[in-house]
């Protein structure tokens, strides 16, 4: 296979996943959330149980006027949705779907790259918040910055634990080194990574930055039309990314009950779907954390627990 064809296939695959998976997650959220609240959710769009609801939403967003407030910092305001989306696209590039290089771009320092790029998300929040020239946006953005900077630490520490256990920073390498008993040993790291990841993508119960009952819609307040749709899309790609990272780092990625070689991609996707379901489930079940509760959970619970997990991992690695 010539190099350019391979490149096109790999990038096309990642792009397809980038566009399709968030829509699936969004539709699942519509329906799961509705049924958890005793409702039916969308029922009309597309005919069968509202399967085309998000497509209809997308068409609606395209039709809407793209308003940039007069007082806004125009270039920054217009650039922010792209800054929110592109990091997640880059992360999807290095997440392995299956064995034998079934990945957009195999990278030896994949974990390092992923954590660095996910951290760019805070920049998009700050850009959109500051450039909107709106006090609600600014409040939301500052809350978001405080939250994202705080939760970056447990996220990195938990990921470091599993990297230490596997002895590699390559995401494929971590999956290859993974064994079922790691579920037990790395369980605290998994919980910490998952919770910090939720906070990182600003999902309820960590949605202080967009808290719609107090801040209108946080840093998204001034956005309309397609740019708003992109920021929302970024949130759902974020779910896919966090679910995929949790899968790859802690749930064994493509390792399944049988036929890992052929069905590895299926096991990965199933695990990603399961973790995404848990993310939706948590949103329905729990109320939003207050600012002080948020920081308390981060600095008094997650960070010490992550450090303890690091010590445990180091000790077990040395004895083995």
């Amino acid at each position: 296979m010539p190099l350019w064809l391979e490149l096109v296939i790999r990038i096309g695959g990642v792009l397809a996943a980038f566009l399709v998976l968030p829509l699936l997650v969004g539709q699942a959220e519509h329906k799961v959330m509705a049924h958890m609240q005793g409702r039916l959710g969308p029922m009309y769009a597309g005919g069968f149980h509202g399967w085309a609801q998000l497509i209809a939403d997308g068409v609606k967003f395209v039709q809407k006027e793209d308003v940039t407030p007069r007082a806004a910092d125009r270039p920054v305001f217009r650039l922010a949705p792209a800054v929110a989306l592109v990091p997640y696209l880059l992360v999807l590039l290095v997440i392995p779907l299956g064995p034998n290089d079934l990945v957009g771009q195999p990278l030896d320092i994949g974990l390092f790259f992923v954590l660095a790029v996910v951290g760019v998300g805070v920049l998009a929040v700050l850009m959109s918040a500051w450039a909107s020239a709106n006090k609600y946006s600014l409040l939301g953005g500052l809350r978001g910055a405080a939250q994202l900077l705080g939760y970056e630490l447990p996220l990195v520490l938990a990921a470091a634990s599993v990297a230490m256990a596997a002895g590699t920073l390559s995401l494929s390498g971590i999956v290859e080194a993974w064994q079922p008993w790691w579920l037990l040993w790395q369980a605290p790291a998994m919980v910490i990574f998952f919770v910090a990841g939720l906070a990182e993508i600003r999902r309820p119960p960590f949605d202080m930055p967009v808290a719609d009952s107090e801040l209108v819609f946080g840093y998204l307040t001034e956005y309309t039309g397609l740019r708003f749709a992109f920021l929302l899309l970024a949130e759902y790609v974020g779910i896919v990314v966090i679910a995929a990272l949790t899968t790859v780092l802690f749930l064994g990625g493509w390792q399944g009950p049988f036929a890992d070689e052929q069905l590895g991609w299926l096991w990965t996707l199933l695990k990603v779907a399961a973790v995404s379901f848990v993310i939706i489930w948590l949103r329905v079940s729990y109320p939003r954390l207050r600012a002080d509760q948020l920081q308390r959970l981060c600095w008094l619970v997650l960070v010490p627990a992550a450090l303890a997990q690091l010590v445990l991992t180091a000790a077990i690695r040395l004895t083995l």
Binding site: Q37, S285, Y286
Partner: protein
Amino acid sequence: MSERERSEATGLPGSGLVKGLAVTLKTMTKRSTTAQYPDVAPELPPRSRGVIALLEENCTVCMLCARECPDWCIYIDSHKEEVAVPGAARARQRNVLDRFDIDFSLCMYCGICIEVCPFDALYWSPEFEYAEYDIKDLLHDKDHLGEWMATVPPPPAHDPNGEPAKEETAAARKAAASGTPAVRPTTPAVRPERRPAPPRATDDEGSSA
């Protein structure tokens, strides 16, 4: 500290979080309570107060309903007519209804007019889909009110253990005195236990809304 708080305090840390997850998961497995209203007609109880129907023949223009109406939303006009009865000494007078309007933009669905009508000219119908774009169209005239009669459910069955109706005992007594059996409907028109789907408004009413 209440009983509930104490029991939660003694429970394992995080048990409340698990309980919250269990509630939402359990709700997801149950059927949702959403009624698909415009697609699926609601199962209304037979005594629902949807709209008031008028049986014009029974009305004697006694005006009781209009006078008892708390918000004066019934408008009645009538005139008297002479009816020549063959064999009678002189012609009889009869009230003829010219106008019987109920303004449903004022009506508060108390049902006093129906209770107070001595001649059973007014009935509740469970039909409720008569919203209009113009508030003036909520004034239903006697023809419109008469159309609702088709949607009035039959009366409930008589309680088998209850006393028979006065009319029935009177008829039976009269029959016993004259020696002929009383004329009684064998199967009274009564409401079945579970009402089938309510009759829908006719098409022209639906399109005028």
